[in-house]
Amino acid sequence: MANVSILNATGAAIDAVRTEVAAGPRGKRPKKVLSGRNIMVYGTLGLAALYYLLPLYVMVVTSLKGMPEVRLGNIFSPPMEITFEPWVKAWAQACTGLNCDGLSRGFWNSVRILVPSVIVSIAVASVSGYALANWRFKGSELFFSVLIIGAFIPYQVMIYPLVIILREIGIYGSLTGLVIVHTIFGMPILTLLFRNYFAGLPEELFKAARIDGAGFWQIYGRIMLPMSLPIFVVAIIIQVTGIWNDFLFGVVFTRPDTYPMTVQLNNIVNSVQGVKEYNVNMAATLLTGAVPLIVYFVSGRLFVRGIAAGAVKG
């Protein structure tokens, strides 16, 4: 018995037991572990995993090499001498145009865009989704359909009118303008997300609150909000990765000193002046990718749920 419990302790041990059983004399069972089929399955998945991991590996490895070593040639070889200088340089010294204060400027711009955009868009969308799910009125369904169609219209068709509007208000080129743009284009998908979630909550809750005399905002604040934490997390994931990764709006709606990180990164790496410093470029690329990657690895399954809902955003 003790034997069994020890074997159960680690996955590797279980593995061993299974192989033993498979190699044993009982004939019919070996399929389970080392069959040709399993080799095929794990082999293919392993190869695919290699293809997916390769770029990340190359990024990390290149960013830790000095330029002489990069010039020697093999992008796949691990660094002989690890240096963090490219990271420092990418963060604090890399040049875009006349500014030579590195990616840090873009990083902080992105943060200043990200925080208000996420808060405002989620606040507006959750209230709208709640209104559409629980307080229908004549025309609300039609309105909802229009909103969903809006999610599919290519941004290019709506960009210029929006430029005109923002210019008229006087905030074209400022971070505020970009925050408004992100809020607007995040709305359809987030509203859809919240509406479907609220519509899935038991209606009795809503009815009971109504009978007790609660109004629109009271029900939202006291019943719906506390019950919908997971969907808020999903919405935050969608918005943080989406807004951080945005390039098009950043390049259209900001000026060089307010460029978000992605735009600045592209300018640093694809600038035609000077000697190409591939290690600095890769460090900068990793720095820009770090935020969504961290969100991804921390959020795990919720991310999968988020992208399934947010994939419409493309």
Partner: protein, 312 residues
């Protein structure tokens, strides 16, 4: 998606015919107030903006929008422009290949993941992480890997095969495939996830029945499971399709449209004409064509999805 609750909308009519309520307008007033920002956005930006752009695509606006209409001049110029033609060809090649590859690869990976394998979540994490990265990051990494001097080509050459040539980003004939490699790397994880969700939705009994009848696994997949997953395929198709039309950042990061203009795409044409060449009319016409393309993909799908549900 949207309609499961519509039959239960009783909640929205709390006091049906109470004479106390004076006016339809004030029913659910709070709800209407809450939806005002959204309605304004939908009406002004989504609807108004789109209509405005389409209308101004018939003018000869250059630096600033001007309402002097010139009929379909801009469209004639657009379709006579070699750069636009290249953009369309690139988009077609990229679109068709990326649809085929991401569906096939995504499905195969999902089917393999569905074999009750170990380390499933590790594999899933690996296949999906590129999707968290932006197209800019994706483009720049692959620009580096495909660098002819230091990347794949350089390495194979240094192994002794000195005539080996693989420089998609510097060869106008194949540059779009270089972009495709990066695009697939970023996007197939999502397709895999959607397909896997679809496969998990298939009844276990189907598999048992197929096994009892002695049907080999691959035949069960092709003739039973895939037809059953039709809705998942259609949704995925629409998602990938409407994403492909917007292809922009990846090209900007990876090749900036080059070499020459061999890797131009429509979305980049729109941006360049609107904000750099100061030829707004062209930009509007090109973006209207993009809208039309998306409409061709979306309208039949919306009709099937929503029109069908109402009948059933």
């Amino acid at each position: 998606m949207p309609h499961p609750m519509s039959s239960q909308s009783a909640a929205s009519k709390p006091i049906p015919k109470s004479s106390g309520r004076p006016n339809q307008l004030f029913r659910n007033l709070n709800s209407k107030i809450a939806l005002t920002p959204m309605m304004l956005v939908a009406a002004v930006v989504f609807f108004g903006g789109t209509v405005w752009t389409v209308i101004y695509s018939f003018t000869n606006s250059r630096l600033l929008p001007r309402a002097s209409f010139v009929g379909i001049d801009q469209y004639e110029r657009l379709w006579a422009s070699s750069r636009w033609i290249i953009s369309i060809q690139n988009l077609l090649v990229y679109g068709i290949l990326s649809l085929i590859f991401s569906l096939v690869v995504g499905f195969v990976l999902a089917a393999l993941m569905d074999q009750k394998i170990r380390f499933e979540s590790a594999f899933r994490t690996i296949f999906l992480y590129p999707f968290a990265l932006s197209f800019i990051v994706t483009g720049l990494v692959w620009q580096w890997i495909l660098n002819p001097e230091f990347g794949v080509q350089g390495i194979v050459r240094s192994l002794g095969w000195t005539s080996f040539t693989f420089d998609p980003l510097y060869n106008p004939d194949i540059v779009i495939y270089g972009i495709l490699i990066a695009g697939l790397w970023q996007g197939t994880g999502l397709v895999m996830c959607l397909m896997l969700a679809g496969l998990r939705g298939i009844d276990e009994d189907i598999w048992k029945a197929a096994r009892v009848d002695g049907i080999p696994m691959w035949r069960t997949y092709i003739f039973v499971v895939i037809p059953m997953m039709r809705p998942v395929f259609i949704t995925t198709l629409v998602l990938i399709g409407s994403g492909i039309v917007k292809l922009y950042d990846l090209v900007v990061a990876q090749t900036s449209g080059g070499p020459g203009n061999a890797s131009e795409v429509p979305a980049k044409y729109v941006y360049d004409y609107m904000f750099q060449a100061q030829n707004l009319g062209q930009g509007f016409a090109a973006s209207t064509m993009m809208l039309l393309t998306v409409a061709i993909i979306i309208v039949p799908w919306a009709y099937l999805e929503f029109g069908g549900k109402k009948r059933g």
